[in-house]
Assembly symmetry: D3
């Protein structure tokens, strides 16, 4: 009988014998890549990895899956999508660290015989480095010959256009300025509302959103509070709409790629 102190969805809570059993059962191994990055006055700096991890945990409720310890530290925050490195608390790693970590972990999974891997990227800046980690593991170990499939997903791309239309009354400004704003805040409210400080929802937009990146960051492209667009109006209800799309997205993905239906 499993102790209540242990959560057997979590890879680190398994014994090696239980891990082995999961591999034999062809479980999906889910690795979340997040970040420690300022998220305005109302969200904790661990938001990105926490959001991805909540989704991973819920997926493990629905599918035969193993939730791996998340990559909490992510790639350097960029001003126009994450506020940038000038905010206290934003604590990031560079390309070398992220690429090598992902490469090594994936190689270990392949060595153990894992054949279904899902990366949840919950911090946009990580994206290409996760790709490189996968590509390097692929070069070294192969995927085809092993019969292994890796999905690199985000939760945001699964949100449907009509949901965005509904949430923004048809005026969705695009995902980039949505840092610590209505969508992220609502999504977290939908899955773990205790994380959000509702009394501090910011109501400001960055003075301008340039269509390019500027180094060093000029002062007028990020708000002083750190959110890039207003979070006011965020609600649990909106979060549920967002999450419904996200889990439908994973449902279709797991069906299309792994031939799986949810277990619940």
């Amino acid at each position: 009988m499993t102790s209540p102190a242990l959560d057997k969805r979590l890879m680190e809570h398994l014994t090696w014998q239980e891990f082995d059993q999961k591999v034999r059962e062809n479980a999906i191994f889910i690795l979340t890549a997040g970040a420690i990055e300022e998220h305005g006055p109302h969200l904790p700096i661990g938001f990105d990895y926490m959001m991805g991890y909540e989704i991973a945990l819920e997926l493990a409720n629905r599918y035969p899956a193993v939730v791996m310890p998340p990559l909490t530290y992510g790639y350097r925050s960029q001003a126009t999508i994450g506020g940038g490195d000038r905010f206290p608390g934003t604590t990031c790693i560079g390309a070398e660290a992220l690429i090598a970590t992902v490469r090594d972990i994936l190689e270990e999974l392949l060595r153990h015989g894992v054949r279904r891997i899902v990366l949840i990227n919950a911090h946009l800046e990580n994206q290409n480095f996760l790709v490189e980690g996968i590509e390097l593991a692929r070069q070294r170990r192969g995927l085809e010959k092993l019969g292994c499939k890796i999905l690199l997903t985000g939760w945001a791309p699964f949100v449907k256009d009509n949901t965005l239309d509904a949430l923004f009354n048809g005026k969705f400004p695009g995902w980039d300025p949505e840092h610590a704003a209505l969508l992220e805040t609502s999504a977290m409210l939908g899955i773990n509302p205790g994380i959000v400080d509702m009394e501090k929802l910011p109501d400001e937009a960055a003075p301008r959103y340039p269509k390019y990146s500027i180094f060093p960051t000029p002062p007028d492209i990020v708000t002083k509070n750190g959110a890039l667009a207003p979070a006011t109006g965020s609600s649990i209800e909106k979060g549920k709409m967002i999450l419904a799309d996200v889990f439908e997205g994973y449902e279709l993905a797991f069906q299309d790629e792994f031939g799986l239906s949810p277990a619940y």
Copy 2:
């Protein structure tokens, strides 16, 4: 008022403003380095990081400290001290990933103005790579001129010889074979007993403990169950003895190096 969903000892649960406040208060930032490594039939593969993290959390109860997200994945398990990579579940990273990650995170802390840093290394194999991460951050950012002090600690070195004598009736065989054995098992029992499966305590010792490393690992230097020495006889009481030494060790260290007394 802080939400019950948030634990304000944890760095990732702080907002950036709260993080900034902690830096201004000269809080100690604690980073745990663990591993995902087989730990016998009775302990989860996340043992190393979980043990270090429990200690970090307890230190944050006693001192003005911030517990950083731990480094869950550690350096490649070695047969004579950690069972080695042949066991399912042992999921490690290499030198490049670990060094670069530690270097980058420390540089970020230095950039933010953190001046008291404690690394808790809970996986012996990590040790020199943590040193290199610290040395590289020191080369790039300096420590002296910043007035920053970094302690690299483990919990095991704080256990006193007379405690070991008492626990082993004067026949302590040294720390190396103590992987997943009496000391680790008891220590976890002392701090979070729900983690240990008491019905599966292994009672076997590796056939031999060579005084050198052998590559590739021969079959007779690791037990089949993964523990390198017996865990039978582990108890909460023994764990309390071990932990008393550990926290006394930290108490002296924080006093000597930071001029701090515990707050409790």
Copy 3:
């Protein structure tokens, strides 16, 4: 008098004395990052860098700018945005090569006293690696204290929504599947029509566009011809519309960031 064999917009065609003069005049140095990647049956595999380079050359007609030798080889092509590495001719470099190259070139420019730098990224896969190259040069040399500004731009983000609406009758499917399709083909037609083989415009769409990446690439997410969406209907006229937006985008950017008006 300059020889007709030399084009004094090009950095490599300057003598070192002329280069020095350009730096003293505070010219904008423009570096294009492209790729060698399959682009369907109607476009050459150098399309990405050629497109970016054409824009750079035109910018040098309008502004006091120096066009640097482009980075022709780009990061590994990804199936859902560039067809992937299975096509003959797709000849890419990895993260290490691209990051180190960008870092080193930027450090050299900073060393020479260049204070206005524009990167044109014409291959989506390059993006984060260019960021890392910039970040590393920034770490090592500083930007603020040098008074240097680096813009990282793409041409696609400057195309306006109403242009996309006009070109696609309100049904723009997003940029990702637009690889070697109507937008890229028309843009090239608008600036250098001799590059496009109009008799081979592909008219096929990939069977499906997943909202995530799959490794290894399944056969049904890329067409056999390599374009991800139809290029039929591409025209010089449409290209002129696209390019008008692009150059207006650069005009505003150079005005906002460098305080410059076009010279023509």
Copy 4:
């Protein structure tokens, strides 16, 4: 029918289908490695890569060859052979960038089935780094088992002793000080005279040519104009003599190594 805007000797101007056809025809793939480096008052800073590229293009006129996009940026200029990094315009990359780029590009060619590869190194400082790029690709992919042959050539070694005797009246001082001097200037006059500014031929020699390298560069081992020896007396006629040797050298090389005769 090929558009006049495209030059089908160039790899980047091929479609992927045309590239594939070239591979099937066992074409020679030619990669030039040059540099952006001061070349005195009369030659552009792109001289090294431009010279190598002109040779590559001419080889493609004579042999079934594909000219790849050149590596324009080269390894750090050294004072006694290239003037060093103190001159404006000298814009170089380090070992990591050059090695990784060459390695990756060669691996891609090997992956595509290319079996005859020629590197033209037109910047002496690149040499060992090109070797390492080749060695790493060889380690990872193999060459023997693939039946692939790689030639690493320069143009200068093909110039015959009696030509050098004729050009220097028997007093050839060796290649090292010939940077931006008579040989390079004449060679370019022989193949693309419009590149050379004949009114600015320098007529000075460096005060001394030490038989070793000195760091940092002392002021008396490089001329102020950047050429290391006089370029006066350079002529198209001398260039033709040089180039005759060069192309004869390639002719013999292609015959000996690839069993090929020129097609012209």
Copy 5:
């Protein structure tokens, strides 16, 4: 007949034909990893590699072995075990250099068909980096399939507890503070007494030995002379006791792992 100037125990003194013969004879190849590090007023800074090398040479007197050129430069000296980098003369390399060197040399041995390799680590700080060098060579070349065995040894672990008891009258303080102290000094006296300056044996202990590492090094954890504990009382006789244990340790190791008995 071999020249007296050559010592045929040494790999570098063999011709390639003799090297080949040694490989065919399945000789043990011994690589020493040392350091250049302050060793108090009485021992030279090359102590670590010299001590390891003396042992290697003696092993070659007893076994069919080839002594490889030692790695003289070692990993960064750490204050609590080697005095740290503040002492003149301590001249170290970082993780990258050490790992890559070990990896490359081992890969070469494997390529040549060597099947018995012994590393003697004579500088504690090197340990994990030697492991990583071995692990990387193992990943790339394999060991099992080649039938190759690598032993990573130190000389200190072979010294028996009862010897330590005898030498320290039952009060052995552990190996860490034994830097340049009684054990190292005696061991060298036992094998090459001319190395030790007996008139300068230090008699001081570091004021304190913390059970953790501190960065930057505080002034009170290292003595001014560089030794971490007294060397007074060191003697040839004690050295002989130590070395007897060491060579017995190797004898057992070579017997257990290689099935070899000493030849003497």
Copy 6:
């Protein structure tokens, strides 16, 4: 009084106090970079480093110099200048290892206050990697501001043309094929004749010496014995001629760069 077991020209034989004294005396620190590479049937595989090291030791007889532990392992042997990696015994390291090692050691010397450094490169293949090591140390620590000068020398470039004329009767074929041939063999005879096995002097030349490198090495560009040209006719007398030039070269270099005259 110094023990006869110690040679105080050697850095590793100094105590840290003696090292410090040498730095204060502004001694020249000499680092030899060699290789372990086949050298025909008559020379040991350590020839390159041994030759450079003999020169370093002799320089320390003549000048206030410290001879550092040599870099015995060198960059990958190339067929046309060193026989290549197909010969047993040729045991090399790659670019990463060599660059990082040189960089780190030089940084340490700069840190210690050394202001005169001489590298003796005795293995042609090392050359550019030594340059990169120097360049990286220069980037990180500076040289100008420290007042430090580094000379990168070889012994071969100091041999005068008229000496080569005399030795080869005016038919010197260039240094490249002189691997393990008359010049190297005689030079060693001139400085340490016991190293050479005079009964095995090879008398064969490689069938052809291409003016370019070929990968993989074809069988007809290296002799079976490993020397690239005949060593017959080598003599101590010829070696003395060669060495006279070499030491005259160093004499002039030390005079020109360091303002030093020999002390003997």
